[in-house]
């Protein structure tokens, strides 16, 4: 099987797309202010990131332990079989998320209510 030119174009195109999106995300990321906790799509709690706390969240199929350490949030323990949520590590910037699919849990970092525009008329 030969590598055709279109393959290279495809791969580089996708890499470029991924790179552009990643760079755009890095440049527009805001410092996080709150960790918003949603179970099955509805918000159940919102914790400011500048506090230190540990809280247990009961999701669809079990529980997750959310830890906020004053500047970031992470899931330290969970009842799900994969523990992917625990392995995600800490999140702190706006838009970052930790997801636990079995428990239908999403922890998303939200910045302050200011958006990119200062005024809209």
């Amino acid at each position: 099987m030969k590598i055709r030119r279109n393959d290279i174009i495809l791969i580089f195109g996708l890499l470029a797309l991924a790179g552009i999106i990643w760079t755009a995300m890095q440049m527009t990321r805001q410092a996080g202010a709150y960790a918003v906790v949603k179970v099955s799509g509805t918000e159940v709690a919102r914790y400011p990131l500048n506090e230190k706390l540990t809280v247990r969240i009961d999701g669809a199929a079990g529980y997750n332990i959310l830890v906020i350490d004053g500047e970031s949030a992470c899931v330290s323990e969970a009842s799900c079989p994969d523990k992917l949520c625990v392995r995600q590590g800490k999140i702190r910037y706006g838009g970052e998320t930790i997801v636990c699919l079995p428990n239908k849990l999403v922890v998303e970092i939200v910045g302050n209510e200011k958006s990119g525009v200062d005024a809209v008329s």
Binding site: G19, K38, D82, G95, V99
Partner: protein
């Protein structure tokens, strides 16, 4: 030669299912749900190139149902099905253009497989923020797709002539 086709499909479905099972055993992950090597796709791509679209579709579908029934639940079934169907559709389209090699088609399949799973996850969790994972999806889809494609191409070359019938 219906018996031949049944036996062949059965064998390939079993093979694809075993690949999926092995993947489940090895905790391969980068922390993002749904990202995996996609070993079962070796069989799917092989079927696509040696036996045709319908064979690949049937084998893929039956494999998804089998794994979901034995090791999955309702949710993993939806994710798996979405990934398999979208990636197959994309691969069939790419193959039809005739402009890509097996690896290229497989890369497109890998990326679209991950993309479908993230889209389903975003819909289920009602969160748009999951698009944050898009760059990772691309990279892992490319890596997995390219390797899977290479293996499938080798298999096609060596085993294709024993199977190459539009069954």
């Amino acid at each position: 030669m219906k018996i031949y086709r049944t036996a062949l499909y059965g064998m390939l479905v079993a093979l694809a299912a075993i690949m999926s099972y092995v993947e489940l055993l090895i905790p391969f992950s980068v922390g993002i749900p749904g990202v995996k090597p996609g070993l079962a796709n070796i069989v799917i791509v092989f079927a696509l190139y040696c036996m045709g679209t319908r064979a690949a579709g049937v084998i893929s579908l039956v494999r998804v149902m089998l794994i979901a029934a034995t090791f999955g639940n309702a949710f993993s079934f939806i994710y798996s099905l979405a990934g398999a169907m979208l990636s197959l559709a994309v691969m069939v389209l790419m193959k039809r253009t005739g402009k890509f090699s097996i690896s290229g088609v497989s890369v497109a399949g890998g990326v679209s497989h991950n993309l479908a799973q993230i889209l389903v996850a975003a819909a289920v969790m009602k969160t748009g923020g999951l698009m944050y994972y898009f760059p990772v999806i691309c990279i892992s889809g490319i890596a997995a797709g390219a390797s899977i494609g290479l293996l499938a191409a080798l298999l096609t070359k060596r085993l294709g002539r024993f199977v190459r019938q539009r069954v």
